[in-house]
Amino acid sequence: MIYKNNITPALFDQLTEAGNIGAGNAATSLSAILGKKIEMKVPSVKMVSFDEMIDLAGGPEKEVAGIFLRIDGEIKGSMFFILSLPQAEACVRLMTDNPSFSIYTTPLSKIGFSALQEIGNILSGSYLSAFSDFTGISLFPTVPSLCIDMAGAIISQGLFEVSQAGDQAIVIDTVLSSIGKKEILSIEAQFFVLPDPDSYDRLFESLREIQ
């Protein structure tokens, strides 16, 4: 694989910084939506196998709420926003001001569905606009789609592009969490950004320019 040799640790650091700025912006948005203080861990950029990628989200069988969207524009890629079920439920409760909302009802209520989809929409928008400002690459999100199921089943859908180009993927992994005392409604959410391998050249070229 060509990109293995061309990517220097310094470029990985740049990509981490881009992820940092994107996630920072998303954390601010999440904090505004939920009315809670949100902090983020420093993102990690990794080259991972597909099994490792699914393990990052908690393992293939873990039941999660996953919001998936495609990144379009000068570079393409996939983006995931993953919440555990109790945390997805807490988010919807805070957003809709309905403390009795349950994520475990099937089918999921319309309001729950659109609240989660909207979180995905806002967070991905703020992540990508900051990412775009930093890298100078124009990109925009497609409409997000929500699925509540096994993490393996959700994430493998987003591996369609990368799996054609090799057995590994570059992933920018960020965790956002609410801070403060041991609250009942604590939030921890995970972001994954997976650039399509066809876009690696364009992405790293821009990162080299700002080095």
Binding site: I54, P60, I148, D149, G152, Q164, A165
Partner: protein
Amino acid sequence: MISIKHQVIKVGIGDLKTVTAPSRISTAGLGSCVAVILYHPSLKTAGLIHIMLPDSSLSRTQSYNPGKFADTGIKELIERLGFPPSRLRAKIAGGAQMFQYESFEDTMRIGPRNIDAVRIQLQLFQIPITGEDVGGCSGRTIEFDPSSCKLYIRTIKVGESII
């Protein structure tokens, strides 16, 4: 449902492995991917592939993991098992459509395309499909027991079934 008495061989995404009774073989979190189990009913030996993509012509690299594609995966698994294809039987599961959204059409159609590709390959080797649980919109975890030739399927939304 899933017995823990016996050793269970786990197959990762895009991978393939074989097993002989009393051990079992399983793969977790199948979405649009399709798992194909090829088994020899009387010799109680089986193999499982966790296929991600329909055809190796989609690969943009020279070397790749054969288990990732329907065409190369099924061929490789038959070779690994080492039995004539006419003695083998198949069970398949997976190929779901996890997200309902039209704008990423290619990505979304991957489940049905994987199922079609698997059927074509199995037909090519004239291996009959003795059981299947494909399509839908649920993730699946499966476990095959080569001694009973039963396939145990677990989904979050629908529950457990045996084929």
